[in-house]
Amino acid sequence: MHTRPASSEPYWMVRELVAIGVFAALIKVSSILVALIGGGMNPLTLVLKNLLFTSLLVVLLYKVPKPGTLLLFNVVSILMSMLLMGGGFFLLPAMLLAGLAAEGLIVLLGGYSRGWTVLAGVACYDLLFKACSLGISWIFVREQPELLWISAVFVAIGYLGALLGLPAGSRFVKELRHAGIVHE
């Protein structure tokens, strides 16, 4: 049986790529389900949806602690939204920018080996992405800019949920480590 030399080993193992795909689906479907149950413009639903997003993202980054995971997750999510739903086309630059900045921050702070750097990266990613998304919303509602202020309030509420999701994600990881599903 032939074994590949270490130099030709791909950067991403298949099981890591599978984990990224599973989490992309998990985050998308759970967000849709929360929105369907609670109604899209309900503040509590917004908090819950964002809380879930960041906590699941934290779990993914602990599960696949490699530089580029966040970026690849974003690319896959937005690509699927673009190909299957036609939407999200204009969110791609915002997502890439936010993803690159967050990856850079994690590397600067000491990499994926430290827990708090992952949390800081996710918080930075969500903040940048939401700010860029607001800019894109302006293109959509430019005829009625007053609507943008209403959107900004909802986005701020959403970000509050995203921040609450960071300790929740940490707690998830603790439980998952205890169960032996996420390794140290």
Partner: protein, 257 residues
Amino acid sequence: MQASFMNRTMGNGLAYRLDARAKMSISLTASLGVIILHSPQSLGLLLAASLAYGLSLNRPKPLLLCHAFLAVMWSVAFGFMHLMQTLNPNPVPTELSRLLVPFLRSAVMVNVILVMALSTRIQTVLTTLKALRLHRCIAIPAAVMIRFIPSFLSDVRQVSEALKTRGYPITPRFVLSHPLLATRLLIVPLVFRALRASDELGIAAELKGLGNLGSVRAFRPPRFETRDWMASATALACIAAAVILQVFTGGPRGGMF
């Protein structure tokens, strides 16, 4: 989207006979079109074209439901704007046409998204992703993402049934009145199941040699036929006609153009 993952017989309309790549290109063209256009007349033309495309599904019920939902959202937004105008001593001028434009954009996108979601099988999407020659780092997570959604929905059903058996009613009221408990009861088991599924799928994929996508060939490769070219060209022609209409009729100017 859920309907597209069901294993039921697909319909006979044009939407079902189009190649998934043609539908993807129509969706992308439409999303580009709604960004460029800002006049209600040209967006109205695009809405009529997208509605004709949506009706080729031969399933008016989901279309009707989505449009009814949009109409309700528009009425709520208009009502709030009217209320703000009444309360504010220096009212912001609220024109019906200006408030209509964002909703026209959404309606166009709803039509094209529904066609994509309700007339395409998962297997077709997977084959199309392969045909698009995406890099393995994107193709594998994308394929897993599509494949995992139905099993995740079935997990959600199982967990909510288990909770009902234990006496927890998973209703919107329960979720809103006990958000933390609902999250703990629903999400924690789902995350555990998802992580287990991810490990199992990863091992299965490695054993099946999924990492080497280059050697895998589709049993029935997708073909981009004349009707697909025609549909894509028609979408482009509709956008061009809407742009011409906008140039001639004018309409409210947006902040960008």
